[in-house]
């Protein structure tokens, strides 16, 4: 039985940068506990002698020639931005007051 607490979900939400409302944290705590219980069975068969697969068809050393290719113009790159100054993305303060 996994023991996922609401404090844990609140911490995960902070790590994932999602400002969950208190009722969402409560609901997710219950749901995640159920989901984790049902998927924890993977450890039953994952013995130390089984290698991990990260990728279904493994490719190694995928390189391209080191020459400039087509890239976005600054205008294109900024076209979908919520805010910009013509050449850079604009955001609110990077650091909070206590930092």
């Amino acid at each position: 039985m996994s023991e996922i607490t609401s404090d844990q979900v609140a911490h995960l939400a902070h790590l994932a940068r999602i400002a969950l409302a208190p009722d969402e944290i409560e609901r997710l705590t219950g749901e995640l506990g159920t989901i984790v219980d049902s998927i924890a069975k993977v450890s039953e068969v994952a013995g130390p002698d089984v290698p991990a697969t990260s990728h279904p068809i493994a490719l190694a050393n995928v390189f391209r020639p080191d020459v400039p290719g087509a890239t976005l113009t600054p205008e294109e790159a900024l076209a979908g931005a919520p805010d910009h100054d013509g050449s850079r993305f604009r955001v609110s303060a990077i650091l909070g007051e206590e930092q």
Binding site: L28, A46, V91, S92
Partner: protein, 512 residues
């Protein structure tokens, strides 16, 4: 007369266009008219292109000028909204990207344009492709053309509904755990998940990068193959793209259709994909399909894949883990939504992600963050990756004795809207038959099998082959399709309600 054009396959439209019996403008206009008539109820489309008719006119003038173009030139196609289109919004079904038009085309979209297909619009989907019913779209669900009170599958319910409602002859989808094959099964259409790396993922808004694969959606195996031939092949912009030289999948499909025979084909039946949790009518149609294949010369071999029972568990660790990482890009800085919130950039980011993501997306991002956390990583994500190895070994062992593996493509027929929305685990079980192929990277197709006796709704057959043997899937798939169509006397979709405006009210009331 014009409405007949929407009933034709892409291959038939291509032949008529090449013969100049019909213009692309006529074909595209017929489909736009059909969309206008039925999509208010089906809601397969999130966006209908304003450039479709002018694109079609351009193809017509090129043809009249004698320009040599691809076989599908002038044929309309719908595109799942997970794929970037430089001339249309690309939202992946999320408020986060509402109204966002990307600065570039996905490689598969570029290849469609270069082959002179005409883009009709963008199709609805579960938000960021997370779901099996299209109910998780931020813009409202798509409805199943067979019964408007039921789901069209997901995440690519929009593309499957578009082709099965005759709003488009072909479409593109993406399949991370069954999002092409399961919608095909429940809408009576065809969908192919290619070998991982067979089709470029560049410009496909990523869900789980080691599982995602773009593929065709259609009403016939040949049409899927024709589209696959256009979109497939190596792309240097995708580092997981395979450099293989691929054979013509259309040739493979034509060979299978012409032979309509499975003589000498070793067909493996996966014990674990045909038992508990599979609806009786689905199992009955599957047993009948096996009999038909055997009568046509196939050697039916029972195979066991003992680790498939761990596939869903592994999938729901790997997918959320990769998704939580991929969705970090939605940070309110470079594109998409920015919430009106004070504070630091991180405060704005967290408020934006709270507002912009739906419940299922939040659930999976939090689950993925948990699975990747220090202290849990080895037990969950690490173990899931080992299960992946075991599932690949099961496939390898099965394919030593068989040429293809078959199963039902979905465990049930289409369920009612809302029925599983509050039960994530029940929703996840819809992909029980399709997830193993994604974990192993092998190709898989869903195609119509027959109507379930208990509810009269479509069931789907899944055909899988070893990695890189996509042509085998098309050849066997086209042969099975020909056998099933011949036995039935017509294509399964001929049994679907016509959705003519006068019948819409009746269909909604369940009377059709």
């Amino acid at each position: 007369m014009r409405d007949d054009l929407t009933r034709l396959d892409a291959s038939e439209l291509a032949a008529r266009l090449a013969a100049k019996d019909v213009s692309s403008v006529e074909v595209v206009t017929a489909h736009l008219d059909r969309i206008a008539a039925v999509d208010p109820d089906v809601h397969a489309f999130l966006h209908v292109s304003e450039a479709a008719v002018s694109s079609a006119a351009d193809v017509d003038s090129r043809r009249l000028a004698g320009e040599r173009m691809g076989e599908l030139a002038g044929v309309p196609i719908a595109v799942k909204d997970v794929l970037c289109t430089a001339d249309m919004p690309s939202t992946a079904g999320s408020r986060m990207l509402e109204g966002w038009t990307p600065p570039y085309d996905a490689t598969v979209v570029r290849r469609l344009r270069e082959a002179h297909l005409v883009l009709l619009g963008k199709t609805n989907m579960d938000e960021f492709a997370m779901g099996s019913s299209t109910e998780h779209s931020a813009f409202g669900p798509t409805r199943n053309p067979w019964d408007l009170d039921r789901i069209p599958g997901g995440s690519g319910g929009g593309s499957a509904a578009a082709v099965s409602a005759f709003e488009a002859p072909v479409a593109l989808g993406s399949d991370t755990g069954g999002s092409i094959r399961q919608p095909a099964a429940v809408t009576g259409s065809v969908g192919m998940k290619p070998t991982y790396g067979g089709v470029s993922r560049y410009g496909a808004i990523a869900l789980a990068s080691s599982l995602d694969q773009v593929g065709p959606v259609s009403r016939s195996v040949l049409d899927a193959a024709l589209v696959h031939d256009v979109i497939g092949g190596h792309d240097p912009r995708d580092s997981t793209s395979l450099a293989d030289e691929w054979p013509s999948f259309a040739d493979a499909a034509r060979a299978g259709r012409a032979s309509a025979s499975l003589a000498g084909v070793r067909v493996g039946v996966v014990t674990e994909l045909n038992g508990e949790g599979f609806q009786p009518g689905v199992r009955q149609r599957f047993a009948e399909a096996l009999e038909l294949m055997a009568a046509s010369g196939a050697e039916i071999v029972e195979v066991s894949a003992p680790h498939f029972e761990y596939a869903i568990a592994a999938y729901y660790l790997i997918l959320p883990a990769e998704a939580s990482s991929n969705l970090a890009k939605f940070d309110s800085v470079r594109f998409g939504l920015r919430a009106e919130a004070g504070g630091t950039v991180e405060d704005v980011m967290a408020a934006t992600r709270e507002q912009g993501f739906g419940d299922e997306v939040k659930r999976r991002v939090i689950l993925g963050t948990y699975a990747l956390s220090a202290g849990y990583y080895d037990a969950y994500y690490g173990s899931a990756q080992k299960v992946r190895t075991l599932i690949q070994r099961d496939f390898d062992a099965a394919f030593e004795r068989t040429d293809v593996l078959v199963s039902p493509a979905a465990p049930t027929t289409a369920f009612r809207l809302g029925e599983k929305l509050d039960d994530p685990l029940a929703m996840y079980l819809n992909d029980i038959a399709t997830i193993p192929a994604n974990l192993a990277g092998v190709p898989g197709m869903g195609l119509p099998m027959g109507l379930a006796p208990e509810d009269g709704l479509p069931t789907g057959l899944q055909i899988m082959a070893p990695a890189r043997q996509d042509a085998r899937v098309y050849e066997v798939g086209a042969a099975v399709e020909a056998l099933l169509d011949a036995q039935r006397g017509h294509r399964l979709l001929a049994d679907a309600p016509s959705l003519a405006p006068a019948e819409m009210g009746a269909a909604r009331a369940g009377a059709v």
